[in-house]
């Protein structure tokens, strides 16, 4: 084929294709780029972020609050916070997903600490992770990740696992736990630090073996 075959304008051989839907507009952007757009008031970017993170965000809030309505409130308030403070997000310090989940968790913990009924509840050691939803409707990597974390947690000494789970999933503060468990505050602090550091190590190890995928793709 000679070059003359291509002298025709590209325009002439271009067949119009279906328009890319509006929702796909942001699909190729990373979470951090979406936050940058949110900081400029782009609500479609917020919708895309929500679609990527909401499942984990809601699961986390539900885990802490154990009530669907309260969990939805926590997610809603956290996303409003994202909208209002996106311009202050420091991407050099954390990933956008980490930031959003931190906001959700903080909100859920603040809400659960306010609940009076919780004050009277006995401590339950929270060893079970969330009930698995139908496997067909769950992204494979979410399932993989849950099993990976569960397996890492099971390798921690009991007192460390208990401290991490009651704090992160139960929303108990270190001083609340010291009171409830009847151990010195310093001991709780040490357990929590040692437990989180060990969990980090275990997860790093399993990352090298597995295909951990930290991005919220839908």
């Amino acid at each position: 084929m000679g070059a003359h075959a291509f002298e025709r304008s590209v325009l002439a051989l271009a067949a119009p294709q279906h328009r890319v839907a509006m929702r796909k507009h942001h699909a190729h952007l990373s979470d951090e780029a979406l936050v940058a757009l949110v900081a400029r008031g782009d609500d479609d970017a917020l919708a895309e972020l929500y679609d990527r993170v909401s499942r984990v965000a809601y699961g986390l809030a539900l885990r802490v609050l154990r009530d669907e309505r309260h969990a939805e409130d926590a997610v809603q308030e956290a996303f409003l916070q994202v909208w209002r403070s996106a311009a202050t997000f420091r991407a050099e310090r954390a990933k956008a997903s980490t930031w959003i989940l931190t906001l959700v968790h903080r909100r859920a913990v603040d809400l659960v600490r306010r609940e009076e009924r919780r004050q009277a509840e006995p401590l339950t050691e929270d060893t079970e992770l969330a009930q698995a939803p139908e496997p067909t409707e769950e992204a494979a990597w979410l399932r993989f990740e849950r099993e990976r974390v569960q397996s890492a947690l099971s390798q921690l000494p009991d007192v460390q696992r208990e401290a991490l789970e009651l704090a992160y999933y139960g929303g108990f503060s270190q001083s609340e736990l010291a009171d409830r468990l009847g151990v010195p505050l310093g001991t709780i602090k040490s357990r929590m630090f040692a437990g989180l550091a060990r969990l980090r190590e275990l997860l790093d190890d399993s990352t090298q073996e597995g295909s951990w995928k930290p991005e919220f793709t839908s």
Partner: protein, 239 residues
């Protein structure tokens, strides 16, 4: 703060500090690079704990409520795109955008591509170029006439082709991009190679584009050629 502050980083990452302790820790954190680094690392671990708590999806009504709230609320701390465009001096939003660029570079795309370190490095350099264009507030979107996606062209004429649905190039072949002045593929100049096979390819176009130019893609022998030898399989509208 005294010696125990290091341990408080774990409590902070887990949201397990009381309000007073939390404030004190945050005040300390602002000036302590070691704790910042430790916290960043612990947050990765707590994020794994968060992901492990995922369960059923929230009701669709929640999404509607959030978007309705957001749309009803005048942006605060938000620099509207329009006013940014007219402002020459860097403002807070611009700083945030730069910070976002940093995260983009070290962040998510890298992990998708991390099978080979060298490949990742090369890919990161390409992404870095692409990101600068993608986050440029003045960048314009140019539709594709052929192919699914778009061409993003920034104010300096740098362009990024965002294109979906291209299978991996056949053995011994590559995708090659071209800048065709005025849409004339016969006088097109080579503008970079890529392998395809990703759901969405984000490819910085080498060189700069002028108004009226068309960016096109052909399939060529591996290593690329100087003059296109096949029909374009994708082409943008004129820039």
């Amino acid at each position: 703060m005294e010696a125990g502050v290091h341990e408080l980083t774990a409590g902070y990452a887990l949201d397990a500090l009381d309000a007073a302790e939390r404030s004190a820790y945050e005040a300390h954190l602002a000036g302590c690079a070691q704790c910042q680094q430790e916290l960043e690392s612990f947050w990765t671990t707590t994020e794994a704990l968060a992901v492990a708590a995922s369960g059923p999806a929230p009701s669709p009504a929640l999404r509607d409520r959030i978007l309705a709230d957001v749309r009803a609320e005048p942006p605060q701390n938000v620099i509207p795109l329009e006013s940014r465009r007219r402002r020459a001096a860097p403002v807070l939003g611009a700083v945030a955008a730069v910070a976002a660029v940093v995260a983009l570079v070290v962040g998510l795309w890298a992990s998708d591509l991390s099978s080979q370190l060298d490949e990742t490095r090369a890919a990161l350099e390409r992404q870095q170029a692409a990101i600068q264009t993608l986050v440029d507030s003045e960048a314009q979107d140019v539709a594709l006439q052929t192919g699914e996606g778009r061409l993003v062209v920034d104010s300096e004429g740098f362009a990024v082709l965002v294109i979906g649905g291209l299978p991996e190039a056949p053995a011994g072949k590559t995708y090659e991009m071209w800048i065709a002045p005025g849409g004339d593929i016969g006088s097109a100049s080579p503008a970079g190679l890529f392998a395809g096979g990703d759901e969405i390819a984000i490819e910085p176009v080498e060189g700069t584009v002028e108004p009226g130019d068309v960016v096109a893609v052909t399939i060529e022998v591996a290593g690329g050629v100087d003059v296109p030898t096949s029909q374009p399989i994708a082409a943008s509208a004129p820039v």
